[in-house]
């Protein structure tokens, strides 16, 4: 797999340099400069919202740093969690005396690193809370929902938590809205082709020319089941049915994200969205603020995911609040 890169060892740092050059509102901080912050002044007493994860998922994670979204983000090597130190750097950068929410995907390494960083932060008097994204319905049964990993749906939690923090919510309020959004967000993805880690000898996985895989992880972890490739409408029907099986009672409005895992073009996303919109409409759900595009990727992986965030008035209001980062602008 060809890539437009230099030495693979410089991939992440050159990428971050380019990101910050292109978006001068972002800055690299910390000893190894693996935490990203934005330069819009945070008022003293604002709760900080931070995230973190591996590289290779742009716009996730660092691309969502900006007013109304994340205040800081720790970033690791490709598909690796950020180091404990980078997590500390991000927490420290986001602290304005009112505590910091650590909001990231449910992966063991990321969780442990943020926990250790949080313990160090506590020693320095910074209070933290942790909320884990657990939207991938393919990764555990509903009864074990807390074991699910976090994928594309995490950005809805970013948006709501960021808006709550901007609105002056305290740490408990920010953490609890993030948790509420996580609890009401579900994602299912289907992969068509692999990505390759820069410098690796081969692709992360292989998949036959006529097959697709449901529930593939965003690092290329094996999926849950394979299918022969089928028409897009059939796939969407299957995906929407799985997502709606976990629809909370009384919900009539949803936010929708049809996400490219990387190389799947906009044209195909709109074909998927068309069917998803028809099916959600048939299920009596009104779509609010659909997002269609590459929002959470695995470099050049082929495929798409669909995320639903089941709304209530509070979440809907927070999703509509102004926010501004390199890849998502609201209001």
């Amino acid at each position: 797999m060809k890539k437009l890169i230099n030495d693979p060892a410089d991939y992440v740092d050159e990428m971050l340099d380019g990101l910050c050059l292109a978006h001068p509102g972002l800055r690299r901080v910390g000893d190894d400069r693996r935490a990203i912050v934005h330069s819009v002044a945070m008022w003293p007493g604002k709760v900080g919202v931070v995230s973190g994860g591996g590289s290779g998922h742009l716009p996730l994670f660092t691309g969502y740093v900006g007013p109304g979204l994340l205040d800081a983000c720790a970033i690791g090597n490709v598909f690796e969690g950020p180091t404990i130190n980078s997590c500390q750097d991000a927490i420290a950068a986001a602290d304005r005396g009112a505590g910091v929410l650590c909001l990231f995907g449910n992966y063991g390494g990321d969780r442990m690193n943020f926990e250790m960083a949080s313990e160090f932060a506590a020693l320095e008097g910074v209070e933290t809370r942790t909320v884990l994204g657990t939207d991938d319905i393919a990764s555990a049964r509903p009864a074990e929902g807390h074991k699910r990993r976090g994928v594309a749906g995490l950005i809805f939690a970013y948006k709501a938590a960021g808006a709550m923090a901007e609105a002056g919510g305290d740490l408990d309020a920010v953490a609890s809205i993030a948790q509420k959004v996580v609890d009401r967000t579900r994602t299912i993805g289907v992969a068509l082709s692999s990505c390759q880690i820069p410098g690796a000898a081969g692709p992360n996985f292989t998949i036959a020319d006529d097959e697709i895989e449901f529930g593939m992880g965003i690092h290329g972890e094996p999926g849950i089941w394979r299918h022969k490739i089928r028409p897009a409408d059939e796939l969407v029907d299957e995906m929407i049915a799985m997502l709606l099986a976990e629809r909370p009672a009384g919900v009539s409005r949803v936010a929708v994200l049809v996400n490219s895992l990387g190389s799947t073009p906009f044209e195909e996303l709109f074909i998927l969205y068309r069917r998803a919109a028809q099916q959600l409409d048939a299920a009596g759900l009104t779509i609010v603020r659909p997002l269609i595009g590459p929002y959470v990727t695995s470099m050049e992986m082929g495929g798409a995911s669909i995320s639903l965030c089941f709304l209530d008035d509070e979440i809907e209001g927070l999703l509509a609040a102004p926010a501004d980062c390199p890849f998502w602008k609201v209001g």
Binding site: D31, N77, E80, G81, T83, G108, G109, M116, K147, G220
Partner: protein, 209 residues
Amino acid sequence: MAIDVHTLADAIERANRAMGGLTDQLNAADAKLGDGDTGTMLARLIGSFAAVDLQNAPDLGAGFMALAKTGAASTGSSLGTLIVTAMMTAGKASAGQDAIEWNGLSQILLAVRDAAMARGKAELGAKTIIDGLDALARAIAGKDDPAAIAAAAREAMDQALLEFRERPSAIGRARMFAEKSVGLDDPGMLALAEIVRAVTTNHSATALA
């Protein structure tokens, strides 16, 4: 003869040399159900350990803490963070001491095991590196001869791998494929076993001595 910073430095150097041949094997083990990076991550972490100037550390506790500090700056993987936790735990247990006796090693490994369980939110029996640590700590308990400890350690790791191979994984990525994990080694436990082998074999007595 006891365990001091030189023992520690020597063990790390051996482990580091062994990683050359282990990286692909451990990546392959992880790729079966995980993301295929256990070897690469571990090689980088141990490489960063090898670059730490342990010989001049004021005492053994400080040596472990220096490793923890380096690890915190250089790894983001689950296994790496558990190893950082282990170094911090060992560092606390040996704080201010120039050396610890061989018969104190088991106690430290048990503390490491417990700290890793707390950090990883993992139970014993979940088929992780922690079960390897547990087997190791128990096998060398009460022993004070380095050669005997080395032999018991290798033996315990072989046993642990064998015993857990046919059991399902209950944690981490492999959890999602609990059934598929039957018959496979846990990459973290395999890594521990191979490193124990590398550190204890050949010049094993002198290595740990």
